[in-house]
């Protein structure tokens, strides 16, 4: 397996884990909170709110502009 394949496989496994976790959270919210619920809970702190706003804006800017 090349480095590229290994890296893409690793990203794929993380994505698969997120999908499985989402499905579990949807079926059994008493066992696992959903991502939205967890992020909302994390945003109880002002610093987290600002950090997530920065991350959101930077990702959009980074991915769609030619910098």
């Amino acid at each position: 397996m090349s480095g590229w394949e290994g890296t893409v496989t690793a990203y794929g496994l993380v994505l698969a884990a997120a999908v499985v976790a989402s499905l579990v959270a949807r079926r059994r919210p008493d066992v696992l909170g959903g991502l939205g619920m967890v992020v909302t809970w994390a945003m109880r702190r002002r610093s987290t709110q600002l950090f997530l706003l920065l991350t959101w804006w930077w990702l959009g800017w980074h991915l769609v502009t030619s910098r």
Binding site: T7, V14, V38, V39, R44, R46, W57
Partner: protein
């Protein structure tokens, strides 16, 4: 009812030095919050990459965290927003789609795209900063809401940490901070060609705008979670 002694900070001249010291340190408790080391790490990565705009963005956010930390003093708020009506959801999606399609028509190299995205960011920041404790630094004595932690929240933390770890390994394997390693691609290396043009670009921008709306609604939930908020 507001506490008249809150926010006085270091004050040894009033004969209440010990209390003032305690209040002074309590104003800095936000420095222990998890976002602060993450921001410092992000700033270090941006300094390594050497893009002035990214560095400015991270340093500016750190400054805002300090400013807001002094206002909030480590307090928590219930960030759950009020439920939306279907009409609001449909209206928000329609606006995001129109804006997303419109932004996708601006070429990647055009400076107007930077200006338009900056305007979206400034609007989101302004909407978020417009709520919170009073500008005079005083907080009321209402009980602080402490939202219950979702079950097994650490599962999502683990998934996020794995993603960051893979991204960090890819970044560190680059010959220099600005040159992608084709053998170990970062997420942006994989996504940028997909988001270069057409429907995926419009869809990506629409989803980005909707994600921003979702976040801003939570940053503004403070005003509904505490009595007496501005």
């Amino acid at each position: 009812m507001r506490n008249p002694t809150a926010g006085v900070g270091w004050d040894y001249g009033q004969g209440v030095g010990e209390r003032a010291q305690r209040v002074g340190w309590s104003r800095l408790t936000f420095l222990r919050e998890p976002a602060v080391p993450l921001l410092v790490l992000a700033t270090a990565v941006m300094v390594t990459r050497g893009y002035a705009a990214d560095i400015l963005l991270c340093v500016g956010t750190l400054a805002l965290v300090v400013r807001e930390g002094l206002r909030w003093r480590g307090r928590t708020a219930d960030a759950t927003p009020a439920p939306l009506r279907w009409r609001s959801v449909a209206g928000g999606c329609a606006i995001a789609t129109v804006l997303g399609v419109g932004l996708s028509l601006i070429p990647r190299t055009e400076r107007w795209l930077d200006v338009a995205l900056a305007a979206v960011g400034v609007l989101a920041l302004w909407l978020s900063l417009a709520v919170g404790p009073g500008g005079d630094g005083h907080l009321d004595d209402a009980p602080e809401p402490v939202p219950a932690s979702p079950p097994r929240w650490w599962v999502w933390l683990g998934i996020g940490a794995l993603l960051v770890l893979i991204e960090l390994v890819s970044f560190l394997s680059q010959s220099d901070a600005r040159t992608d390693n084709p053998d170990r691609p970062t997420i942006s290396t994989l996504l940028e060609p997909t988001l270069a043009a057409g429907v995926p670009r419009a869809a990506g921008l629409t989803l980005w705008l909707l994600a921003g709306w979702w976040l801003v609604r939570r940053t503004r939930a403070w005003s509904g979670s505490r009595a007496g908020a501005p």
